[in-house]
Symmetry: C2
Amino acid sequence: MPKIVNHQKRKEQLAEAAWRVIRREGLEGLSVRRVADEAGMSLGSLRHYFDTHAELLAFSMRLVSQRVNERIEQLPFTGDARRDIEMIIAQLLPLDEQRLAEAELWLAFAGKAISDPAIRKMSLEMHDELYNGFRRMIDSLILNKLAKDGIDAEQETKELHALVDGLAVHRATFPERVREDDLMRIVSHHLNRLFKN
Amino acid sequence: MPKIVNHQKRKEQLAEAAWRVIRREGLEGLSVRRVADEAGMSLGSLRHYFDTHAELLAFSMRLVSQRVNERIEQLPFTGDARRDIEMIIAQLLPLDEQRLAEAELWLAFAGKAISDPAIRKMSLEMHDELYNGFRRMIDSLILNKLAKDGIDAEQETKELHALVDGLAVHRATFPERVREDDLMRIVSHHLNRLFKN
């Protein structure tokens, strides 16, 4: 493996160790020392990849979005707008262990975004990326004349975005209250109302 | 003022000082010493009201729900189901400084609920209380034959609950992205779909 690839791969392994620390102990449990321990690496070796706590945190947060985007790019799109939209949204909801981890991390970041300006800035990037994704879905429904007449793309996007994030928070935090099969059933029911009959 | 009332009032003032610390510094910034400082009280005096950090935190979390409930009980209900439901939901969304504080606190608690069992337990109580409130709204629509035929009360409740919490998170965290007047417009648009035409 070329050295540059190995370097990137090692950074991702350290970010995944950071994810485990955050999920177990919350964001305030995160320190470069804890992550080095979690990854079975010396603090000196970790410093070869991340100079500061802030760099490690920023990389770990961005890797969450990157993993979601990679999965979405690899989806077997069908050209059927309804099925394609449901496939994308399913990648954003905690429907397996990987997606549960992402939802828990997103919630930990959101919970600190108000009191921590650096986390807020990165959370806003994630928020905007998601918003833009939902907006493209709604715009494609309108463009392809699949949406009910007269729908307001901006309002519908904000509603769908809030619904999906709210469902992810509820399922990640209270799995005994919101079942896994509730998630796509509720999303699908919501989409029914946007599509022409 | 009788001593017992004074005692309760002082506890609420300390909880409000705890809210300010949590909003400014996050939940991990909370300590009995920080709250005593914030309230301009000695640590010894604070201990007269709360023995432990856990007691102070539990009281502060429960006071959030209690304040929301008090406001809802005092609403000038009209008997018009649509207007009454919108009035209640408006009390749950960050539409003024008090409600913004509540949304920020709720988000800070939710962000720690996954990694902290005590916070999780109290967050679940808040979640259930809200769920039950939304369920009563949906049930009353069905009972009064105002809802569209064939709606599933449990699924509709979960959807409305996720939508309102998602909107509260978005507005509290990214006020530059979700405007204040988006909130009730989106809720009202969603309710339109539940009501018979």
